[in-house]
Symmetry: C3
Subunit: 361 residues, 3 copies
């Protein structure tokens, strides 16, 4: 109502860190979550029905029957087809209409009867959808690390924030001392650490030098004996965040998260945690589980508060410092991709951008 | 928020099958539901208070006191007046202000003190309101069938869909095999049936020829011995849907539904079911009750999903086939009425449009 | 959605009695409600965090961290600073950034790191905020009456109505016979009463002459023996409503309410009730408590219904009579203040507007 619109908080601007990159593969579900029942998913604001035919092929169609516009996710799978629940129209994973009950003539004849379809594949235990229905995939999806013999855990969380805010949060170090105070690291003791940030044409990373073993509970649990710490935070275009820790020779820990833009302010995070420690994985996993749950819940809550505030003010107004290591690099890559600015890889594989800063961690 | 508006699913268009026909009578309540307490109703998006004076006269006023704009439905009836609950202003069923407590001068003197009023009558056990407050009624309301000796049941359901979608659903045959699978008819066995569609200046109908007795449970219950089936689906402008079945000489079944547009995407369906079967009505009624409830609930759910999808996509994009027998005819009549295109009745009472099609049913 | 916008009730206009007067002090909390935890408040639509440093100083900042825009009200107070819960940025009550964990250089150096701050003071048991962050306070806040020896009670209620509607309701006599029927006065017996309305440059008042002792339960409870009634309803710019009753020589009753505009259609009412009667305050207070609760709840409900109706119709359309004594005067003063029309006080302190009317009360 126009009466409402007059009342807005001060210093608002319409910007939000939302970049839409449709020519990419995104994880939309854990593979084992897609059984016989079709499920509704939303990708970049587009409602889709995800289903798996009896032969195992995944399909992703616009979640709207071309006939009377009810959601196809309210239907069912029969053989190789998805069947609408209202009048029984049948579709294959390419969107072709294969049957209309009651009709004497052929169902396939009319173009308007097709359902819009997106490429869908299963890879690394995830279902991926190529978010453009008019541009064919430029290649296969991102590959998650293969680390034989490592313990593994998967987790799916809906983060109430933009894809950018979720990626930045997943790769940000300073907030861990506050938001997750005591778990990772504490604010009390500080060491001076060097961080090297590098941006390439399709990824960005931060390497930490001189970092002590994280002082919190998790650090002591993962690596009781300590050792030299190697730590990288990595971003792969457009939606993957990866944190890797090596502590001494025994401990190796990799968290790879696909951050899928459900809508502008909702991101679904599909995480794979892989680790090797002195303590066997079967023993450590149940110990780490409550920590992981707490950390995800704290980040989820904070991203929700951030989004709520951005909405209340009608836009963002961020003030960055040199401690915001990867967020600005991620934004630059996403925004360039949205604007279709082509960034060619350098001939020698060197970064386009490199910076070294000091921080207390 | 403008940030949101950028993110919309593909191929949207702004059209929706919404036609507003205010110069018509609509059922707004079952007569026995209107007692001493005023009730709020909404007709074509307009909030009204419906009340009945002590002498029995129904009244329909804008649900907003002219004084300080509180809803009159929060007030009470005293004698022949409706009294506002805030400062006690009194109104008669024509909207005239009849009293203002505390005022030394006359309440009736000022024109701005009138409440907007609509014509309201009781007929066939329903309360009807003429939806135009500035054009007088062109005649009495539609009459429901008088069928002496028949069993009767009334039912009121809020359908979360447009008036058009609700009317089409009430008169559509193909969906019954799917959505209500097993109750009316099954998808397994199919007979070729002929349907004749006719459109007149103020109604449309479809007659089915060669139709077998419905194969589902309801068909067997209504007519155990079978017989020749006569079946008509009828629409009367602007809001009445009627389904009539004659099976053999014993069974006669008429469902007349007034589909009142509450708002663009909400329709209240006031149904009268009348029937005569071999089995006495008092025995059959409790048997049919759970079927009726199931069918209404399934249609209600599907209309809700349809509306939700139309809203998500910002409009409809329907693809019709020749099986959509009455929907397009209803839309044509409603749209012409909204545009006030005058369609004169033909001299000989013949239809303006007639078509014969074959279907499997 | 544009589909929705077409359907609106008749005779709507965009006006609503909303006047925004930011250059003023408003009560935002009871002083004793502000302890160690920061609390979120909203004033004129602006989300603020209210906090009290360890030394007792109240602070009011924009409820948005300049860094990553999470609400500061999700943080905590440490010493003289408010600390953000996400990355630990620290702010003093003036909004100056005093610390950024992890940063090697000085936190105070950058202007963009400041949080927007409003003047905040504690006075008469309330926390007051000056609603302009760019114009300094023109003086101290309004003083509540000091009445030594009187019984006192404080009450905070969220009224779902505009500041104007809430002020008018607090100072309106005719509705008490209806909405609070039987409590204050009854509609049965009526005496002719004279009301004198006066408007000054910064306040308005109504004095009642010839008023009988209120006939309802409360009147009999407050003043069993009756006596000459003196009654004033007063408004002080921009947010204070005051009702004063003197009955005979024994009974004196003053209710002063600060009506703070939370948003255009939400007003928080901070009331102080002060009274002296024959019956000792400690005995009368528990007897009056349920009456006060009922009256506030009835007014709250009615203001909510009024607001809901105004929203449904997209604006107000009020029809006033001569019984609406103070509402129009309050509106005139508020609207002039919003338009910054300067009204100079008259040299002799006489009212700008004076009117005498007769009513039945």
């Amino acid at each position: 109502m126009s009466l409402e619109e007059r009342l807005v908080p001060p210093q608002t601007k319409a910007h939000a860190s939302v970049a839409r990159v449709p020519e990419a593969w995104y994880v939309v579900a854990e593979a084992k979550a897609l059984g016989k029942k079709p499920i509704p998913v939303t990708l970049l604001g587009v409602p889709m029905v995800l289903f798996r035919t009896h032969s195992g092929r995944p399909g992703a169609l616009l979640d709207r029957c071309p006939h009377r516009n009810v959601p196809l996710s309210a239907g069912r799978v029969e053989g190789e087809h998805l069947v609408c629940g209202y009048h029984g129209w049948e579709f294959d994973p390419d969107g072709q209409c294969r049957g209309i009950p009651g009709l004497v003539s052929t169902a396939e004849s009319e173009r308007g009867r097709r359902a819009i379809a997106w490429p869908a594949v299963e890879s690394d235990g995830w279902i991926w959808v190529w978010a453009s229905n008019d541009v064919p995939p430029s290649g296969p999806p991102f590959r998650f690390p293969e680390l034989p013999g490592y313990a593994e855990a998967r987790r799916t969380v809906l983060a109430p924030g933009t894809m950018h805010a979720t990626l930045e949060n997943a790769l940000d170090v300073p907030h861990t001392a506050f938001l997750h105070g005591g778990l990772f690291r504490t604010a009390k003791k500080r060491n001076q650490v060097t961080a090297v940030v590098r941006r390439y044409h399709d990824r960005a990373e931060c390497e930490y030098l001189g970092e002590p073993r994280p002082s919190g509970l998790i650090g002591r649990l993962l690596s009781p004996s300590g050792g030299i710490v190697e730590h990288w935070d990595r971003f792969f275009m457009p939606s993957i965040a990866q944190v890797e820790y090596k502590i001494g020779t025994e401990t190796h820990f990799v968290v790879t998260s696909a951050c899928t833009p459900v809508s502008d302010f909702e991101t679904r995070l599909f995480a794979l945690v892989q680790f090797r420690t002195r303590m066997p994985g079967v023993l450590l996993k149940p110990l780490l589980e409550p920590f992981a749950r707490t950390i995800f819940a704290q980040d989820q809550k904070m991203l929700g508060l951030q989004t709520e505030t951005i909405r209340r003010f009608g836009g963002e107004q961020f003030e960055s410092t040199e401690l915001d290591l990867l967020g600005p690099q991620i934004w630059r890559l996403l925004r360039d991709a949205e604007r279709r600015t082509v960034v060619e890889p350098s001939a020698d594989g060197a970064p386009f951008y490199e910076k070294q800063i000091e921080l207390l961690a």
